[in-house]
């Protein structure tokens, strides 16, 4: 049986539905992220696990115990907030020891545990400081230590890195992952940052409008998005308008150029308009890949130097195609205005459903790709 089980969770605030039909099983020691745009219900779900919100319907089971009606202070859950939420009137050491003090543990034990945690977060020197004397990143590490001090069954993190600047975000992300591995604590991590979710998680739960779109490993979610939303929200993506030529063998045409898709298009008939989704990194300049490939020709419209990669925008008649080249000082990147041909494997093409053909989300994700 899974360590944490969310069964048929529903939550509505008055008439508006925040979360519906949420089912999830998390194994002991697993690191699971809730990923989605703001307002998708991820934080609400986390707050239900913590006990700050009560589900309208459904059960929450932790370690075999139904805690749906248990108040937050009896759930033994560690929580880290976006705004740190350190108690401003207490020193770092008092903050970390707070949960143990409430539990009436002996002072010597509290002291030892606090010192141990300060060591884990590399802040042994800071025990006597007050929160206002710390930087944001330090405060968040203390908040993490405070949550871990009570040896919680579950660690919940609500966008813990959102308030920090980019460099600290990356290093603290690493630190969180290491501490989590070291302690083997079951962790739920809420974020709107797909890169963060992929770097940290064993599994990602992608959410949109209160519903689960997909549950899977970062690899699965990125490479095999289950829905159109997942495809466009996770990573950047090319969306190309195509017309089905032969559904049975997966042959389509993009502005008159034939493209083969790896699977038969069972849900489509010849002449249907469909959207093809291709990751920019799966497209290469012509001649670099062997085996059966698709080719598309067009005019280079724009070249953006991004450091380790160079992103090229290729214009077909009406479609735009972004693709990435690795930076190489010895090679001249394609020049705007020149005509080139690119290639990609049939396996690189994802076929999105017909509802995907609606114009609005395509332009949105094209903008994202740019």
């Amino acid at each position: 049986m899974a360590f944490l089980e969310l069964i048929n969770i529903h939550k509505s605030f008055g008439a508006s539905v925040a979360v519906e039909n949420f089912n999830l099983a998390v194994e002991r020691g697993e690191f699971v992220s809730f990923l989605g745009p703001s307002g998708c219900g991820k934080t609400t779900t986390l707050r239900m696990i913590a006990g700050f919100e009560k589900p309208t319907a459904g059960r929450i089971i932790i370690d075999g115990v139904d805690v749906t009606d248990t108040p937050p202070n009896r759930r033994n859950i560690g929580m880290v907030f976006q705004s740190y939420a350190l108690f401003p009137n207490m020193t770092v050491a008092d903050n970390i020891g707070f949960g143990l003090k409430i539990a009436r543990r002996p002072a010597s034990e509290i002291r030892a545990r606090v010192e141990e945690l300060l060591r884990i977060i590399h802040m042994s020197e800071f025990g006597r400081r007050y929160p206002y004397q710390l930087s944001g990143g330090q405060q968040q590490r203390v908040a993490l230590a405070r949550a871990l001090a009570i040896q919680p069954k579950l660690l919940l993190l609500d966008e813990p890195l959102s308030a920090l600047d980019a460099k600290i975000r990356a290093s603290l992300r690493q630190e969180i992952r290491e501490i989590q591995r070291q302690l083997g604590i079951t962790t739920i991590y809420v974020t709107h940052d797909q890169e963060e979710a992929m770097a940290l998680s064993d599994r990602i739960v992608v959410m949109s409008r209160g519903r689960i779109e997909q549950i899977g490993t970062p690899f699965e979610v990125y490479n095999f998005p289950a829905t159109r939303f997942v495809a466009s929200f996770v990573g950047t993506l090319n969306l190309i308008q195509a017309t089905v030529v032969d559904a049975a063998i997966g042959l389509v045409t993009v502005e008159g150029q034939l493209v083969r898709v790896a699977r038969p298009l069972t849900q489509h008939r010849s002449g249907d308009a469909i959207s093809l989704a291709i990751r920019p990194e799966l497209i290469a300049l012509n001649g670099q890949v062997n085996g059966e490939v698709n080719r598309l020709s067009g005019t280079v419209e724009d070249v953006t130097f991004l450091g380790s990669i160079v992103r090229v925008r290729l214009g077909l008649a009406s479609n735009k195609l972004h693709f990435d080249l690795f930076n190489n000082p010895q090679l001249r990147p394609p020049q705007p205005g020149s005509s080139i041909t690119v290639q990609f494997a049939p396996e690189a093409c994802l076929v999105l459903g017909e509802e995907a053909a609606s114009a609005h989300p395509i332009s949105a994700s094209a903008a994202q790709a740019a």
């Binding site: 759930r75 560690g78 710390l134």
Partner: protein, 298 residues
């Protein structure tokens, strides 16, 4: 390049002007304050150390030890302390109720608006209002008489407790106005963090909520203390302004029209004592405010 050029050419001009003209911009303010506040106050403070022949002396200060002056100060201090604590507790609880106590939002707005008015509704009309309420012929006095409780002669609006009840009327709203934002500044995450660490509501208030609010609460009570200590009109209206057995402000006021103490130096010393106490109040208040501002900065 443009900013550099500008710095080179125009900066010295500004600086040259800074020496001669910049300070002139605030001269009217300082002249006004000097003429109507600083100079008179300093001269009173200075004169309280001078005798009638303008020689340095401590006699005036020592004479503050006269029994009726001491009793007047004690009376004022007690009145201020009682109304600061009473008004502070009632006002604090009211501020809690309307902010994070779960009452409907319109009530909060109504109470805050009313407090804005009530904290400025004091002095003579406030005294009238309480005479109409709890005076011999007051409406509440009559109600109570109708149900068999007679306030008089045991109670008097002009007594210590009568005066306290009236003062608290303007103390509560001041407390509400200052504490409501402080309560609203309590972050929901603090409570949730405490709860997730196992704290009950009592634990939260004992270790987190009250300690965070304490500097604000104490600071505001100090402010209320000073507020009551400096009050004159309300007490004057209620007590008629006799100089015996009364608040210090009335004792000082009586020195203006006639030198009731037959010693101008002593009058000055009386004012000095008041300034010192008010200065201590404002100093304490400022210190407590800094303390809480420092905590809440991050």
């Amino acid at each position: 390049m443009a900013p550099l050029t500008r710095t080179e050419t125009s900066q010295p001009g500004i600086e040259r002007r800074a020496f001669s003209w910049t300070w002139l911009g605030v001269a009217p303010f300082f002249l006004f304050v000097a003429a109507f506040l600083i100079w008179p106050t300093l001269s009173i403070i200075g004169q309280s150390f001078l005798d009638q022949e303008r020689r340095l002396t401590l006699r005036n200060i020592l004479e503050l030890g006269r029994p009726f002056i001491v009793s007047s100060y004690v009376y004022s201090l007690q009145l201020s302390a009682v109304t600061a604590i009473g008004g502070g507790i009632l006002g604090g609880l009211l501020a809690y109720a309307i902010t994070i106590g779960g009452l409907p939002r319109p009530l909060r707005d109504a109470v805050l608006s009313f407090s804005g008015v009530a904290s400025n509704f004091a002095g003579v009309p406030l005294a009238f209002a309480f005479i109409a309420t709890l005076g011999q012929l007051g409406v509440v006095t009559q109600w109570l008489r109708a149900v068999g409780i007679s306030l008089y002669p045991a109670f008097s609006l002009y007594s210590f407790w009568g005066l306290s009840i009236v003062y608290i009327y303007f103390q509560i709203p001041l407390m509400v106005l200052i504490m409501a934002p402080a309560f609203e500044g309590m972050r929901r995450e603090w409570r949730e963090a405490a709860e997730s660490l196992g704290a009950t509501s009592w634990h939260y208030w004992r270790y987190v909520g009250l300690p965070i609010l304490l500097p604000s609460i104490l600071g505001t009570m100090v402010l209320l203390f000073g507020n009551a200590f400096g009050a004159h009109a309300t007490a004057f209206q209620l007590t008629g302004g006799g100089s015996q057995g009364n608040v210090v402000t009335i004792l000082i006021g009586a020195q203006i029209s006639s030198d009731a103490l037959a010693n101008p130096g002593l009058g000055n010393a009386l004012a000095l004592g008041m300034i010192v106490i008010m200065g201590v109040c404002i100093g304490l208040y400022t210190w407590l405010q800094r303390l809480s501002a420092r905590w809440l900065r991050s």
